[in-house]
Structures are given as structure tokens and as C-alpha cells.
């Protein structure tokens, strides 16, 4: 039972354009959502998060949108840069236990 799903295994975007990565979840009890970025041979790096009581959180070039009714969140990166090429994971947390459930990841490639 995949509670967090990233349906696009890969995404290719031109440098300077907007990258939009999507994530769907099934468990309405998730109360916190996070995005991580992972380069090969490194651990995931925390990017941005959002509480379930909000619908948008912005940090520089990164914005996360949450649509609770649709159980959907997205990460917008604008403008996209070559260094953004990596695998992006969305994750969801269930309350105080702070256990994270991860999606399968989306490989983002930024083309010059």
C-alpha cells in the first residue's frame, strides 16, 4: 500500500523555466509534508516543508503547494538551474511519532 505516490519517475525542464513536481497521498491523517533532494552517493537533503494547516509555503526559488481536498502537493522551482538536477522525494509525517513515509522519487533534469 503506497501511501505517498510520485507518479512521474522523471521530468526534464529547460534552464530558467519552472519545474513542477507532483505528489499524491492517500492517508488523510498525514499532518506534515516535506520535500527532499538527493544527489547520487549522498543522503537526502531537506528542501522545504508545509504543515497541513497551510496551503502554501515559499522559500526563495522553492514553493510548496498543498491541496488537502485533493490530497495533492506540488513543488515549484523557479527559475530552474542546472544544479537543481537531482532526484526529488516527497515525504509525509504522521503526527508526533515523526515517522516519514516517502514517495518513489522524481528524477529532475535541467537542460541548458
Amino acid at each position: 500500500d503506497q501511501q505517498v505516490k510520485q507518479n512521474s519517475p522523471s521530468l526534464s525542464v529547460q534552464e530558467g523555466r519552472i519545474s513542477i513536481l507532483n505528489c499524491d497521498y492517500t492517508n488523510s491523517m498525514f499532518d506534515y509534508f516535506l520535500w527532499y533532494k538527493k544527489y547520487p552517493a549522498e543522503g537526502p537533503t531537506f528542501l522545504i516543508s508545509i504543515s497541513s494547516i497551510k496551503d502554501k509555503n515559499e522559500d526563495g526559488r522553492f514553493t510548496v503547494f498543498l491541496n488537502k481536498s485533493a490530497k495533492h502537493l506540488s513543488l515549484h522551482i523557479v527559475p530552474s538551474q542546472p544544479g537543481d538536477s537531482a532526484v526529488y522525494f516527497c515525504a509525509a509525517s504522521l503526527g508526533g511519532a515523526q515517522k516519514l513515509v516517502f514517495g518513489q522519487g522524481t528524477r529532475l533534469t535541467i537542460n541548458p
Binding site: 543522503g43 516543508s49 522525494f89 515523526q98 516517502f102
Partner: protein, 115 residues
């Protein structure tokens, strides 16, 4: 955030042997976790490492296969016991509870290959 190191960074082990992975944090942390990322898969939580008590394991993971120690607030070990090729994965430790929110910060991972 915190600086997290893992040893070894990678290893190739024979079937039937065991490997202990170390995770060291540069500051005291309340919560430490161990994850596994199998080839081409997502990250899956193995267990929560509790300081001074037994680890809390997720469904599908057992203490006999993945014994965990956490002797203090900066260090934990994960042992992969009686290894088989299916245990070939990246093993990652993470820490949480640093900022009062739910962010977790990950170590660089240990790439294990079992032959």
C-alpha cells in the same frame, strides 16, 4: 541542522555474514532513525532508535535481523545480520526533533552490496 556521519560509506559483504553501520551526530539529538533504500526504490523506515531502550521497529523489520543500539544522544549503530543479496541497499540514518518541527536530516548513507 546537524552534521551526520556514517561508517562505512560502502562495503561488499558475503552472504551469511553481518555488518554493523555506525551513525555519529555532532550534537545531541532526541530522535534518530534508520532507513533503507533498495535499488530503484524509495526510502523505507526500518526503526526508530531510542536512547537507553529498545528500538521501535516498523512492520516487516525485526530485531534479530536488524539489531540497533543507541548508547547516547549522539551515536547509534545498525547491524544487518545473516546477510543475503536481498539486503543489498543503501542504509541511511537520520535525526529529527532539532527545530521543534518534523524535519529530519540524513547522513550520507552506507551502500551495502551482498554477494
Amino acid at each position: 541542522s546537524a552534521v551526520i556521519s556514517q561508517k562505512p560509506s560502502r562495503d561488499i559483504c558475503q552472504r551469511g555474514t553481518s555488518l554493523t553501520i555506525q551513525c555519529q551526530v555532532d550534537s545531541q539529538v532526541t530522535m534518530m532513525f534508520w532507513y533503507r533504500q533498495q535499488p530503484g526504490q524509495s526510502l523505507t523506515l526500518i526503526a526508530t532508535a531510542n536512547q537507553g531502550s529498545e528500538a521501535t521497529y516498523e512492520s516487516g523489520f525485526v530485531i534479530d535481523k536488524f539489531p540497533i543500539s543507541r548508547p547516547n544522544l549522539t551515536f547509534s549503530t545498525l547491524t544487518v545480520s545473516n546477510m543475503s543479496p536481498e539486503d543489498s541497499s543503501i542504509y541511511l540514518c537520520s535525526v529529527g526533533g532539532l527545530t521543534g518541527s518534523y524535519e529530519q536530516y540524513f547522513g550520507p548513507g552506507t551502500r551495502l552490496t551482498v554477494t
